[in-house]
Amino acid sequence: MTLFRHRMLETGKEMAFEAARMALDSAGLERKDVDAVVLGSAPDAFDGFHMKGEQLLDGAGGFRKPYTRVFVGGGTGVFVPIAAWWHVASGLADIVLAVGEEKMSPLQPHPQYAFWTIFDQFLERPLGVTLLWIFALEMRRYMHVYNVSEEDIALVAVKNKANALDHPAAQLPARITVEDVLKSEPICAPVKRLDVSPTSDGAAAVVLASEELARKLTDTPVWITGVGWNVDTTYWTNRDLCYPEYLEKAARMAYKMAHITNPRKEIDFAEVYDPFDYKELHHMEGLLLAGKGEAPKLTREGVTQRDGDLPINPSGGLLGVGNPIAAAGVMKVAEVFWQLRGEAGKRQVKKPVNRGLAQAWGDLMQVGTVVIMER
């Protein structure tokens, strides 16, 4: 992966190249060895190229190869390895390069503006809707239904930003306190500045290989044993936002494939999508890693710390490392990979790990994408 930063000199193509090149180098492969390429990148409005997949193709190594772009908003980053998995699982390809890239910085005056274009043009845009509204509305609903306090939620931001201090590519690592979060500027109540991840430029990539090749190329491959994805209705105002149904369905799909019946016990650690701090809790529950309304308790008790029983976001998550939309999910998959191989350096979780999970989320509170990986 590249660094994740607010603005980078590199174009989207150049960032994709740096990440893809690094992935190939770490696998000892060349572009000619790659059978197919999958790329993910989020709304075209960020960098004004309305055929963004094709624009990034050369940087993703897709020149004259079977090439696919996938998109499910923020869920894209974990969806890219899933789509790459289809290529290998179907027998169509032996080696697939999966790249996630995002360049958010070009849109003026602020990248957030691009999100305005995902809302219903008749009934929502005329109200001056901003992306923050849907997060704030969901956060409020979650807090109300399960009686969760802003302090509970702030603990996630404190944990993840501290974890990010050990991530070499991180954009906003910091040592903050719950009070810092509570006192930070309200943007869209109850969302405050320190509850949110930044907008970023960045790219990340992984290489997938079929079983036979994987065993030839390394002594310690990491296997994808479960994939799941699910998208809910775009009529988001017709759903109760307190619980992500679509994520539970995606998780069950992945658990079934991986023969997991008790996720809380059988998943050793997880990289859970955290564009906002409350989302880590929301998603932990959707992933059945905690009962409804119980994720705050696990966080308070330190269970989700790196030395806890169920480490969550040892990388530092989006809150700490950064949020270049489609690249963020791939960063999480990379983190699970490094943790399982014992290569996460200072971020390595204390307990021995055999099975991890990476999850992303996106669109209008709609999509859950899940990947389960094992040694």
Binding site: G91, L127, L132, L137, E185, D240
Partner: protein
């Protein structure tokens, strides 16, 4: 088919390749002073969107001072915003229903920023309002007015405040905002 790989680290001679994180951050000064090369561009994309049958009728209803919904006889849900087909049963809906112009606040937020991240002069209270007459949980997005942000509660009962008839054009903004009604 066998198990599938998620990536690997190939160094059979035992030497670990250094992982290097590439990237050249642009400092705020370089951004402001443009001491590196930038290219600027502006587009103004203009659209004329067909509203479709369902939204067309919904907007006509708003112009007439009514909130309309539709009913799917198979799942028996009454849906708002109205749609031509029920997304669950995947069949055309059966009839139009006039709903009340009151509702219950399902969730709300107080926004201090505009959609381009600039600061608002006055905060805006936004909410998902479950419309009375529709199936439970059927909400629409709108704004609240005539209420102190700190007094808004989930579960609050609200009523639409309509623009005067001659100012209504067939838009969601024909409802200026929803205001709290007194609980009996």
């Amino acid at each position: 088919m066998g198990r599938l790989d998620a990536g690997w680290h190939g160094c059979n001679n035992g030497e670990v390749k250094r992982l290097k994180f590439a990237g050249t951050p642009i400092s705020p000064e370089e951004w402001r002073n443009e001491s590196v090369f930038f290219k600027k561009e502006e587009f103004d994309l203009k659209y004329a969107w067909d509203t479709g049958y369902a939204i067309a009728k919904f907007l006509e209803g708003l112009k007439a001072g009514k909130i309309l919904g539709v009913k799917c006889n198979r799942c028996e849900r009454i849906l708002v915003p109205p749609r031509m087909f029920c997304e669950k049963c995947f069949r055309k809906v059966d009839e139009w229903v006039t709903l009340r112009d009151t509702g219950t606040v399902n969730t709300f937020s107080v926004s201090y920023v505009n959609n381009d991240a600039s600061r608002r002069e006055k905060p805006l209270v936004v909410a998902v309002i479950e419309i009375h007459g529709a199936s439970p949980g059927m909400g629409i997005l709108h704004v609240l007015g005539e209420v102190e942000p700190s007094r808004v509660r989930v579960g609050m009962q609200v009523k639409a405040v309509w623009k005067p008839e001659n100012e209504r054009v067939g838009a969601i903004t024909d409802i200026a905002y929803f205001k709290p009604i007194e609980v009996m």
